[in-house]
Point group: C2
Chain length 542, copies 2
């Protein structure tokens, strides 16, 4: 027997309609590529999102067509989020930090018909446009008078002249909530990039979950700064959750340096910020020498890669900002876990609380997770037993765009490629990437543990642990280290630094000093490339 | 083009599975009918919910069959919530405060096959069971040794012996998320009661929305006391939202007096409580003379009927408890609006904030609302213009069970029967019930305004405003008043009390003193009965 409740499709257009109707005067503030600060409101965004939809109609772009962006966090990008998806097209956010050849591959694979780009990326677009064979419309996200005259890009239009040519009236279409809404390719450290094709339904359910008190805790009292990029997994869904609750949004544009981010936090009274560790490192690096404080910032969610424990401490102890550790993936829309304490933890001493805060956190309702051994047997939640982490839920991918990579699921579960423990209270901790774990004499050594210890040494800027083949132990760990400017530590000093912090047999066999560690487009260490660089390397004594 | 995300039905069983897996040790504390305090956990509830499901299977109860409850808030009721709906049956919560004839009517209309009742209601069940022709199984929610031997109810079993006879292992079935999950009849001040038939989908989406920071703000750090009954619109969905976030639950059972509720709040470290004004009045009435304080209670949501402004003030000013005004209906699952301030209101002076707090609040995302005039034209959101309030959304009824009352919708919108204003910021304020508004000389007078002013007089316990026919003005308002014990106020003094508070022409024409004002099963004033009582009444001077 079916219930008798109203049937409404969960659609992204309803978010922008709601934000306009109930939070129309709430500000959307953006630092632009031009360097100035731009101010609009949810009403302004809604109105221009409708103009975008009319503009796409005028190009006779069919439902399901992909509209790509190469853009920073800003109001125009936000208008495209709602205008493209709301009108039943698919927003394809491309990471501009990828190699141009990868961008071409992705744009062709997605069969993008429109590509909108910030002027920052004009040189990239000039370099690759001729190879993007499906793109019919190139849009520069700029005022009409800033459109480059001699770009060499055929039919290039400025976003402002395109949008302003269209009516502000538009009725959002109603359609199946399982319709595709946006597309994001995984950074793909191995193999071809693979596209996660989100739906309106998955996006709305994720937006509800992401705004919950134990997740990002978003409300109409927040001023939210997504430092995490809109070109990467929809800025963790913040644009959607913010519209859902009527939060103010503050966009940093291209200026992710410590000074710019700090100034924006202060001038726009930011209460909540979300980003990856590298950006917060720059922010703290700017604040500390100048003795600066936060006036309004209360909490920050840090994710994207494992957050160094020292940073959680600094934010909390020195700046009074609550740091929530998060974990997610492109394939998870992206939120999987948030590390918020439970009631029973509130009475624990600070150091015990800190042990929990270091973990990636608890599953959000909707996200089911388990850890399994090599033969897919579920492992206990004891906080000690390692296993491959598998997830499922309404905002997890079922397969990749165009079936790329085949069926990724294992009996309905998505294998994350992470190795993790889950404790009795459901707190998950990533101990490694499945492919990075060092298997020494039948035991697993977490490369992340090795790296965190090295990073805690004052002379170390960045550290990467990799496994090197060993005739007796199969693999042994070594640590590759880039030092801070003017800092010094010897091989022996660093190895001694490990003593007492982990078991003897887990201590790396060697330290290799390098100028810098190669990073991927999303700021993650590229261990594959590091392994190539170390091809001739031999363990000491072998 | 469809998205490629995993398809999972939004099912109530996933809530209890999640709560067991991630919050298994979180306590569920109940004051029982027996008077003692019972303690279990989300794990315990989950295990017994599975036993309930096995028990229903053993009776060969088909999918969609209605299982009724006549029960207070407590752990057994919670087990039925999940066991019945999770196994694809429909939980039908009956309000035990209804007249026995109405209960019989409702049980027969719903075709209930099982009826579970607290021993408090044994006399009622004894009186009506023979007339409930579809009920095959009667279950007393008690230990085996407390089962009345000579109840006269055929095949009466105790819940404990029934549940304990069944296995703890059970695999929740997977089915269409639009399947009916629970049934609640409107209190029906006019006509036959009408059943709202909720679905799994509507319940889960409502649970997400209800837990948001700007709504009930539920988290794993809360100890939640739903005073609002589980027999009435699922205790505002708290059982579901609490499972979703892992909140502790504290159930008051039948003891809703001020002393019992206060003791439970203190002993169980309650942080959040939800209820109707009458219960809070008793609580404050107990605390004030004894000089008691709250140690942990931080916020309370008050709804069910308009909350007297004085109570919001008392909670905030005298006890430091944030009071959120809420508005909902059986047909809305029930939450429609919550009154949480926006960022821009935080800097307003307290008296300006209070003006906003008096309103019923803003729509939650998912709930769309508008006000219309007599010819269904949308009215402006200026905070002044009155209109009939219409809503729509995924947790609003489409029609009533068995089509009772015909098609309730007006062009897809559900007419709430309330008259309201909506201001520029989306804050809705109920000014009256459509049928209670007093229409005097073409102008509308809000009966609620008239009542609130009378209630602010120290001598008045309760006040009801009704319209009386008038040859010149069509209708004129009078106020019917029940005084507090030993309190006195004259007709002239009370009418003088209105001066300066509302326009002259809105001041009631007369005061009628009564011993008490008739209340319905959910604590609302029964104006229809009041009108019957005043049949011979004539306005002064006519």
């Amino acid at each position: 027997m079916l219930g008798l409740m109203q049937q409404h499709n969960l659609l992204i257009s309803s978010l922008i309609e709601f934000a306009e109707k109930h939070h129309g005067d709430v500000e959307i503030v953006s630092r632009r590529v031009e360097g100035d600060i731009h101010r609009t409101t949810w009403s302004g965004i809604a109105q221009r999102a409708r103009q975008v939809a009319n503009g796409l109609d005028a190009w006779s772009l069919p439902a399901g067509a992909r509209v790509a962006t190469l853009a920073w966090n800003g109001y125009r990008h936000l208008e495209l989020y709602f205008g493209v998806s709301g009108s039943e097209r698919v927003l394809h956010t491309i990471n501009p930090r990828l190699h141009p050849d990868q961008i071409v591959w992705i744009a062709n694979h997605a069969e993008d018909q429109v590509l909108c780009f910030d002027l920052t990326f004009l040189p990239i677009v000039q370099q690759l446009h001729a190879r993007c064979t499906t793109v019919k419309h190139w849009v520069a996200l700029c005022d009409a008078d800033r459109l480059p005259a001699d770009s060499g890009i055929p039919n290039l239009v400025s976003y402002e002249s395109w949008v302003s040519a269209h009516r502000q009236q538009y009725t959002w279409p109603d359609f199946d909530e399982n319709t595709a809404s946006s597309l994001c390719y995984t950074s793909g450290t191995t193999g071809n990039p693979k596209g996660a094709l989100y739906s309106h339904r998955s996006t709305i359910i994720h937006a509800y979950a992401a705004a919950l008190p134990d997740v990002m805790c978003l409300s109409a009292r927040d001023s939210t700064l997504p430092v995490v990029p809109m070109f990467h997994v929809n800025a963790w869904g913040i644009p959607y959750s913010a519209a859902m609750v009527g939060s103010k949004l503050v966009f940093p544009g291209p200026a992710l340096d410590g000074k710019s981010v700090y100034e924006l936090i202060e001038s726009e009274k930011v209460t909540y910020a979300a980003g990856v560790p590298t950006v917060w490192q720059m922010l703290l690096g700017h604040m500390k020498p100048a003795g600066l404080r936060f006036s309004t910032l209360k909490r920050t969610v840090i994710g994207g890669s494992a957050c160094p424990p020292a940073m959680i401490n600094t934010f909390r102890d020195d700046y009074g900002v609550e740091v929530l550790h998060a974990w997610g993936m492109t394939e998870l829309s992206p939120l999987g876990t948030l590390c918020t304490l439970k009631n029973k933890h509130l009475s624990l001493p600070p150091e015990e609380q800190m042990k929990i805060r270091m973990k990636q956190g608890r599953a959000i309702f909707g996200m089911d997770m388990k850890i399994v051994d090599e033969v897919n047997h579920e492992q206990p939640h004891d906080g000690k037993t390692y296993g491959d982490l598998l997830v499922k839920g309404p905002w997890v991918v079922r397969e990749y765009f165009k079936g790329e990579g085949g069926d990724p699921l294992v009996e309905g579960w998505f294998p994350t490629g992470d190795v993790a423990t889950i404790d009795e209270d459901g707190f998950m901790q990533i101990t490694d990437r499945s492919k990075d774990v060092v298997k020494s004499g039948g035991e697993w050594i977490s490369s992340i543990d090795i790296e965190n210890i090295a990073m805690a040494h004052p002379a170390v800027a960045m550290a990467a642990c990799i496994g090197v083949a060993h005739p007796k132990w199969d693999e042994r760990p070594i640590v590759v280290v880039a030092l801070k400017p003017q800092a010094h530590v010897s091989r022996e000093e660093l190895l001694a630094f490990y003593e007492g912090k982990i078991a003897k047999w887990q201590i790396p066999d060697d330290v290799v000093f390098v100028e810098s560690i190669p990073l991927g487009a999303t700021g993650k260490m590229l261990k594959t490339r590091l392994r190539e660089q170390l091809q001739g390397y031999r363990l000491p004594g072998l």
